[in-house]
């Protein structure tokens, strides 16, 4: 089959909406346009039924007991904001301490920063070089004021999957709420809020082949009954936790995407892991001094994150971006002009953080695409190393760390 360009391998930033999902959504823009809170006519009933079905599908995908525990939001960022700020405000009397990790996404870190300005204290526990959070570090961080533990289920950059069940068990023992940022995990790997002791869980549609603009927050109703202070006031939709007219077409799409993921997951995750391993093997076996970031086994099946010594990440992307969409932890690709804090938190040198490239596969990638991307990546790395003064120094046997660099 002929390759179609550009090849998309950046599925941890977003995914294409599955055409089956789009098809199911379309009537909800036009003839089935009702407001799900309109209780007194068929337009409303039809919309409400569609939302209920979507809620059930998401409930099943995350192993929740009751569809009422699923609250629709505008996406992962809003879900995380609501979970953290909503719990902080609601349980402030009980305590003002939150525990999270150093490798969370910005939605979590920036929300925590705001809470700190409002008088909360937040502990950012470090992670091991493979990206795993040490349960003892969390245990050590807990105080009698801790009200919430918030941990990313699977990391967006290196794909490391945390031992959520163990953290959930610890949280239960201590009577502390446990929020999982599962935006990268839901739909890709088994997630079960009951088995894992998760009280709050954030997820989003656009990372599971659904539309952008809709997400969900799971809020436990039993054992314990979790309550959140709403951030948006209004008509009291979504059990009063998130007012606002529900975007029915997006929610229908989210539900359909969740149902497809639930059904496809065993086959799809195995297929993507095989493709990912091929990509990894081809690159690692053909390019010296390349380093796998994250945990070699406990990681998302579609994630591959590699640091290429002596070359800078943005220049690698530039060599590939006409034909392949990837992402990098390089400072030059971030809005903050800092290299990836995730790679840095794993203990890698900043030079290797600047050199990290993330390949994230998706449902529609083929083996031909993987082979092509591997070959082109190898070519670009070699070309850039040929023009890298660091590579030249290393080849001459100079230890780069022995040079007195003058930082800008």
């Amino acid at each position: 089959m002929a390759l179609k360009f550009p090849i998309f391998m950046d599925s941890q930033s977003t995914t294409p909406t599955d055409s089956r999902v789009v098809e199911v959504m379309l009537p909800y823009f036009t003839e089935k346009f009702g407001h799900p809170a309109s209780r007194n006519h068929p337009f409303g009933w039809e919309a409400e039924a569609a939302v209920d079905l979507a809620r059930e599908r998401i409930q099943k995908l995350i192993g929740a007991r009751d569809p009422k525990e699923v609250i629709f939001t505008s996406g992962g960022t809003e879900s995380i904001n609501l979970a953290l700020k909503g719990a902080a405000e609601m349980y402030r009397e009980k305590g003002t301490h939150i525990v999270t990790t150093a490798i969370e996404q910005r939605a979590t870190l920036d929300t925590c920063k705001r809470l700190e300005r409002q008088g909360f204290t937040v502990t950012y526990v470090p992670v091991r070089p493979d990206g795993l959070v040490d349960l003892d570090e969390i245990r050590k961080a807990l105080t009698d004021k801790t009200i919430l533990i918030s941990v990313m289920f699977a990391n967006n950059e290196v794909g490391t999957i945390q031992d959520m069940a163990a953290i959930g068990k610890l949280a239960k023992e201590k009577g502390i709420l446990f929020h999982a940022d599962a935006t990268q995990a839901v739909g890709k790997i088994p997630v079960n809020v009951e088995a894992m002791g998760i009280d709050l869980l954030s997820c989003t549609a656009h990372l599971i082949y659904g539309p952008k603009g809709v997400g969900a927050l799971y809020v436990r109703r039993k054992g314990p009954r979790v309550r959140l202070a709403p951030m948006i006031d209004g008509g009291g939709h979504e059990r009063g936790m998130r007012s606002g007219t529900l975007p029915v077409p997006l929610i229908v799409g989210f539900g359909t995407a969740a149902a497809i993921c639930a059904e496809a997951m065993p086959e799809e995750s195995a297929r993507l892991a095989t493709l990912r391993d091929k990509l990894q093997d081809q690159i690692l076996s053909n390019v010296e001094e390349t380093y796998l970031n994250g945990h070699p086994e406990r990681r998302l099946p579609h994630n591959l994150n590699i640091s290429f010594a002596y070359v800078e990440g943005e220049s690698v992307l530039m060599g590939l971006n006409k034909e392949t969409a990837l992402s990098s932890g390089s400072a030059c690709t971030s809005s903050t002009l800092e290299p990836s804090y995730v790679i840095a938190a794993l203990g890698a040198s900043s030079e290797l953080a600047h050199s990290s490239i993330r390949f994230s596969l998706h449902r529609f990638n083929t083996e031909e695409e993987v082979n092509y991307v591997a070959r082109r990546t190898i070519e670009v790395i070699r070309r850039l190393r040929d023009m890298s003064p660091l590579y030249e120094l290393a080849k001459e046997g100079v230890d780069i760390k022995s040079i007195q660099w003058k930082a800008e």
């Binding site: 070359v311 800078e312 220049s315 400072a331 030059c332 900043s350 030079e351 023009m387 890298s388 660099w405």
Partner: protein, 135 residues
Amino acid sequence: MAYSDKVVDHYNNPRNVGSFAKDLPGVGTGLVGAPECGDVMKLQIKVNLETGVIEDAKFKTFGCGSAIASSSLATEWLKGKTVGEAAKIRNTDIVNELKLPPVKIHCSVLAEDAIKAALADYKDKHAGAAASVTT
């Protein structure tokens, strides 16, 4: 971020990639930047000791596309200039030529630093020759 055509051209067809032996007569070497900052440039000039004219220039760069383009452009501009003329190249000239966006201005600053470092190294090594050259 979209790149200007000139940045893309220098990235795809970098001019004067390579190295001179550092101890060759007439060669000045500048190595600036830092790996942990994501930018390192090595820029070398080869000066005709009699005329003071830069006859050749080479670079190697670890950095983003704009850093590669800035140093590639610098080597192009250096060739044929006297040592004195070369010292007048400013980072703003590079910014204008490559149409660098504000976040990439530091790449041009680094290229100017690399030129200055190469000239300083040349002058250190050839104090006598440089003094006899009128620029």
